[in-house]
């Protein structure tokens, strides 16, 4: 059951990522990215990370990607212009990509950590555990992040505002 779920959502994830690359319209790329994020949330659940899975849906799929789609709608972003890639990239790039991928897969499968296997249903990343850690061990980082978000809000407002002086 576990392996079936992993394969299903892993393939959805990989398919979405590839679709993001081959689609020419930004809206289709955005939709496939939403599929990637949704299936990643379910993979997090398989890994037992309950809180992170829900936050992934709320923040990534529910807020960030809505913002992307909003901007695509606002700017009415149409089809991407076709640019000619260099011939060298095609000759060297594709075989290089395949060999690199094969090397990476074999190294990970041979030398990667294998002793620990993951069981389904071991939910240990509940909201209270994550929150406890966030407000004790990582309190400083948390507070600094809030400053970062504040600066980002101000930056977005300043950037998107039409200048009235000119």
């Amino acid at each position: 059951m576990h392996i079936f779920l992993f394969l299903l959502f892993g393939l959805l994830c990989a398919g979405g990522a590839i679709n993001l690359l081959i689609q020419r319209k930004p809206i289709n790329s955005a939709l496939s990215l939403i599929v990637v994020m949704g299936s990643l949330a379910l993979i997090y659940l398989l890994l037992g990370a309950e809180f992170v899975a829900v936050v992934q849906v709320i923040i990534y799929a529910g807020a960030i990607m809505v913002l992307f789609i909003f901007v695509i709608m606002l700017l009415n972003a149409g089809e991407e212009e076709h640019t000619k890639g260099s011939k060298v990239a095609k000759i060297i790039g594709i075989p290089g990509l395949i060999t690199g991928f094969i090397i990476g897969v074999s190294v990970l499968l041979q030398h990667g950590p294998q002793e620990k296997r993951i069981h389904i249903g071991e939910l240990y990343g509940s909201a209270s555990d994550v929150g406890m850690m966030l407000f004790t061990k990582y309190l400083l980082a948390f507070e600094l992040t809030s400053v970062l978000v504040l600066i980002a809000i101000m930056g977005a407002v300043v950037l998107a505002r039409r200048s009235h002086s000119s």
Partner: protein
């Protein structure tokens, strides 16, 4: 039936590689930005996989921070995209090649 953790790492590496590729071959500035999000997602997956592997929650906290930073980045980045589109009227990064108008 359980699965080894390296499978998760493989998926994570694949997502990251797709993100890098999209960043390099795409010409639309919004799609490039989405490729960056894809890379961040790939990294998040490996964080969670390692958190499960070592039985700690630190990985979850890092993913949380990555999400917050990604949200801040999306807000600022999309604002930049809007202002670029206002001045250049294009989303193609090849056309945005002047520092000053």
């Amino acid at each position: 039936m359980t699965i080894p953790i390296s499978w998760y790492l493989l998926l994570s590496a694949f997502l990251f590689a797709c993100g890098v590729m999209g960043f390099l071959i795409k010409r639309n500035i919004i799609t490039i930005f989405m490729s960056i999000e894809l890379m961040l997602n790939g990294v998040n997956l490996s964080f969670i996989a390692f958190a499960t592997r070592f039985g700690t929650l630190d990985g979850h906290i890092f993913v949380f921070f990555v999400m917050v930073v990604a949200a801040a980045e999306a807000a600022v980045g999309l604002a930049i995209i809007i202002s670029v589109y206002r001045t250049r009227e294009t989303l193609n990064v090849d056309r945005v090649n002047l520092l000053k108008l």
